[in-house]
Amino acid sequence: MSGSHDTEHHISAYKKVAGALAVLTVVTVLASYVEVGVALGIVLALIIASAKGSLVASVFMHLKDEKSLWLTGTLVLTVVFWFVLMLIPIMGRMDNIGTYKPLPNANAVPYVPH
């Protein structure tokens, strides 16, 4: 168990993070009213959300003090598979199974769709 000095140090960090999260929540809402287009709007909102998420994970969830390789390994794997999940929509749009694609063969019989 950590000493009371460590805990007091933690409490001051919690207060700072609480303030930062409140400010960032207001910033997210205000940013959504700025006319920057859909794509940039999404990127901005996700950047702010990621900043808030990182603060919660590192300070409230004590990840910045965790030294265990097992915990780090679990988290690294989680992040890797999170990215795999996020890649699924992109892969779905990239594949062209079921889409007619002419091959560069001059002698080929022209494709006639039904």
Binding site: M1, S2, S4, T7, E8, H10, I11, Y14, A18, L21, A22, T25, T28, V29, S32, V38, G41, I42, A45, L46, I48, A49, K52, G53, V56, A57, F60, M61, E66, K67, S68, L69, W70, L71, T74, L75, L77, T78, F81, W82, L85, M86, I88, P89, G92, R93
Partner: protein, 196 residues
């Protein structure tokens, strides 16, 4: 039989089993919500038309609920810190506040649901509403789960503090990790559904 490594670090993993266990559970939760976020992207990219969240949902209400949930995360870390400082009364106060704030969140969410239902905005109405209901309801179930666990540690479960204070502090820390995760999910759900 005493369950091993509830307080002491396990030499091979470098953490106690409580913490490793809750993190493995949270990793599976990341996959659960990640799958739904991925679904949201597929539906949004595949749709010919997608509404602006703020045209359908109330941004002030969503912002209020975001503040409530962040507030409950703050009281949760303070509850755990109070145990570390041996201040049981402070723990009771902060844990009680955490549960009350979670109930406020649920009450506001229920009002939003009631408003949607009374306008016929059921999940079957549009693709946006389908993913909105699915994601917020799954998140809401997590809030209810948190209320049950935190309520137990505030009430009958807190007796353990007088017999095994370190074990109790670790239990509260694990409940806190879960609670911050639920807050973290909302931090992403709010802009994705209400603002974009």
């Amino acid at each position: 039989m005493e369950i091993p490594y509830t307080v002491a670090e396990r030499p091979d993993t470098g953490v106690n089993n409580v913490k490793l266990g809750i993190w493995l559970f949270l990793a599976s939760e990341v996959m659960l919500f990640g799958g739904l976020f991925s679904t949201y992207v597929i539906l949004r990219l595949g749709g010919t038309d997608w509404p602006l969240g703020s045209d359908i949902l109330s941004v002030p209400i969503g912002t209020f609920n975001t503040a409530v949930l962040i507030g409950s995360s703050v009281t949760m870390v303070m509850a755990h810190a109070s145990l570390k400082l041996n201040q049981f009364d402070q723990f009771k106060k902060y844990m009680g506040l955490t549960v009350v704030l979670a109930l406020v969140f649920l009450a506001v969410k229920s009002y939003e649901y009631y408003d949607k239902l009374s306008h016929g905005d059921l999940p079957s109405a549009t693709t946006f509403l389908a993913i909105y209901w699915t994601m917020t309801a799954l998140h809401g179930l997590h809030i209810i789960g948190g209320v049950v666990v935190n309520g137990y540690f505030w009430g009958p479960g807190s007796k353990m503090f007088h017999t095994k204070p370190e074990m109790f502090a670790n239990r509260v820390e694990a409940a806190g990790l879960y609670w911050h995760f639920v807050d973290l999910v909302w931090i992403f759900l709010f802009p994705v559904l209400y603002l974009l």
